[in-house]
């Protein structure tokens, strides 16, 4: 089954690419990356393109209409230097909560997603920096790779 690009659109409008500043044909539109300020935000865009999927970086507070005209298949929330508890820490755009698009949060993006979704965070005494081994808690998930279970994270 092919997922209809632009999940906000009604099915009968699906696939209709509105004219925007970015790319042309629907099959070339892929992933919108929202930039929460991480230096590696544009690396995400590059990696996605290396997978044969077009991607662009948008400011974290991008207007819904801009994303709508980009018509992505999914959204990635980048990392960022802020702590979610800092005053003025960038929030998720409000339209994101209503989207039916798949979303992947990375670091700050995931933490913000957790906070706004009703989860709880705590502040570590020492920053959790550098390589760590991680272990899968659930073998089967479409998002994470299967075994080997011990992976190195950056």
């Amino acid at each position: 089954m092919v997922v209809v690009p632009g999940f906000w659109l009604e099915p009968n409008e699906g696939g209709e690419k509105q004219s925007g500043d970015s790319v042309g044909s629907v099959s070339d539109v892929g992933i919108a990356v929202l930039d929460f300020g991480s230096q590696t935000a544009q690396l995400i865009v590059r990696r996605i393109r290396e997978l044969g999927v077009y991607s662009e970086l948008f400011p974290y507070d991008v207007a819904e209409a801009t994303i709508r005209s980009f018509a992505p298949w999914g959204i990635i929330l980048s990392g960022g230097p802020a702590s979610v508890y800092e005053p003025g820490a960038p929030p998720l755009p409000s339209w994101l909560h209503a989207t039916s698009l798949p979303v992947l949060g990375i670091c700050y993006g995931f933490q913000r997603m957790s906070l706004e979704g009703g989860g709880r965070l705590c502040r570590l005494a020492a920053a959790n920096t550098g390589p760590r081994r991680f272990r899968l808690r659930q073998a089967k998930t479409p998002c994470l790779p299967g075994p080997p279970a011990n992976n190195r994270s950056g």
Binding site: V2, V3, S27, D28, G30, D35, F36, G37, T40, Q42, V45, R47, I48, R49, L51, G52, V53, Y54, Y60, W73, I76, G79, G80, A82, S83, V84, Y85, L101, P102, V103, L104, G105, I106, C107, F110, Q111, M113, G117, G119, R120, L121, C122, L124, A127, N128, T129, G130, P131, R132, R133, F134, R135, Q138, T141, C143, L144, N151, R152, S153, G154
Partner: protein, 385 residues
């Protein structure tokens, strides 16, 4: 992992997917809603399976077809340029680098003879570059090319200027003025083509970034005067460097152009720390030419993604023959990088460094010391200014 925060309880609907010794929710997700999260960086190379995580999300979860290629971009860019320029005229700012060459080829494909390329010799180019650029473009592009020698104009504007940001702003502004003058001479030209790349666009809209500081003003973008009267055409503004190279190959650009090391818009002015004078330009130009020649001879030019000489504002004592010298220092910089966002210094063989150093000190008047830059990016940048 690079955060002071961590998730203690994931939101309702989410299930834990991975953990570390210190983080109970290194990854989690709400499969029904197709929301996932990781508390590490799958986009950096040293994260194992990072690529797989991104691939799973993009292809399996989002269902993207995965058929996009940088070459698709060429036909789209051509169409976009056609609709932007219509029946009007454009001039293209050729720098001699791969970006402006590919931008010119895209626009030439879009509007043909209505594009005129303008090459400004700002006096800040590498040895032999101006002659080579003119010859190669006339041969390969077959588009009208106007070559302007504006050396005096640039050098007098830069007289006594030592601040790198000032240099960039002055040079960017001069560039635009010269182009405007040429455009007026050509008649009814409305558009200026520039080879601005995606990272420049992202970096220069730094105010959008939550806390990302402006690292450098890119002369293609940030240094443009507000009253510029030509409209900008930037056909590469969504591409990364390696994608531009792929597009260049697609457009038939010769290999030597495609693989040319990046050269900053402000040219040698930002490879001379301190004031830019004709004498200091000659020193850095000669040293740079020797360095690049030796790298090519040793077959290391391609492996270094960027290599150059920098003239430091440092004089030191030396001894040459029987005499004491008090002369300038050249820093050599060579980096390996995948994307120019992070870079490591090239582990050049000692023999190559020795040969370069000996040749520079012996052949370039006014230099008695050569040092090699062993800083990576970050924390340093590739260029020194």
């Amino acid at each position: 992992m690079s955060h002071g925060d961590h998730i203690e309880a994931i939101p309702p609907g989410f299930v834990p997917l991975a953990q570390t010794e210190t983080t109970p929710f290194a990854a989690g997700g709400d499969p029904a809603r197709r929301w996932y999260g990781v508390q590490f960086h799958p986009e950096v190379r040293h994260t194992s399976y990072g690529r797989e995580i991104l691939r799973n999300f993009v292809l399996a979860v989002c269902g993207c077809p995965g058929t996009w290629q940088p070459s698709h971009f060429v036909s789209q860019a051509v169409e976009r340029v056609q609709s932007q320029i219509g029946q009007q005229q454009a001039i293209c700012a050729l720098s001699g680098g791969v970006d402006s060459a590919v931008a010119a080829l895209v626009v030439h494909q879009a509007i043909g003879e209505r594009l005129t390329c303008v090459f400004v010799d700002n006096g800040l180019l590498r040895q032999g570059e101006a002659e080579e650029v003119i010859a190669t473009f006339r041969e390969h592009l077959h588009v009208p090319l106007v070559a302007v020698d504006a050396t005096d104009e640039f050098l007098s504007a830069l007289e006594g200027v030592t601040d790198p940001e000032d240099k960039r702003k002055i040079i960017g502004e001069r560039f635009v003025r010269v182009f405007e003058r040429e455009a007026r001479r050509l008649g009814d030209v409305q558009f200026l083509v520039q080879g601005t790349l995606y990272p420049d666009v992202i970096e220069s809209r730094a105010p959008d970034r939550a806390r990302g500081a402006t690292i450098k003003t890119h002369h293609n973008v940030g240094g443009l005067p507000a009253d510029m009267r030509l409209k900008l055409v930037e056909p590469l503004r969504y591409l990364f460097k390696d994608e531009v190279r792929a597009a260049g190959v697609e457009l038939g650009l010769p290999d030597e152009w495609v693989w040319r090391h990046p050269f900053p818009g402000p040219g040698l002015a930002v490879r001379i720390l301190g004031a830019v004078t004709p004498q200091r330009l000659e020193i850095v130009r000669q040293a740079d030419a020797l360095f690049i020649h030796e790298l090519k001879t040793a077959n290391l030019y391609r492996a270094c993604r960027q290599a150059f000489a920098v003239l430091l504002p440092v004089q030191s004592v030396g001894v040459m023959g029987d005499g004491r010298t008090y002369a300038a220092t050249i820093a050599l910089r060579a980096v390996t990088t995948e994307d120019y966002m992070t870079a490591d210094w090239s582990r050049l063989p000692y023999e190559v460094l020795a040969r370069v150093s000996t040749r520079i000190v012996n052949e370039v008047r006014g230099v008695n010391r050569v040092v090699y830059d062993i800083s990576s990016k970050p924390p340093a940048t590739i260029e020194w200014e």
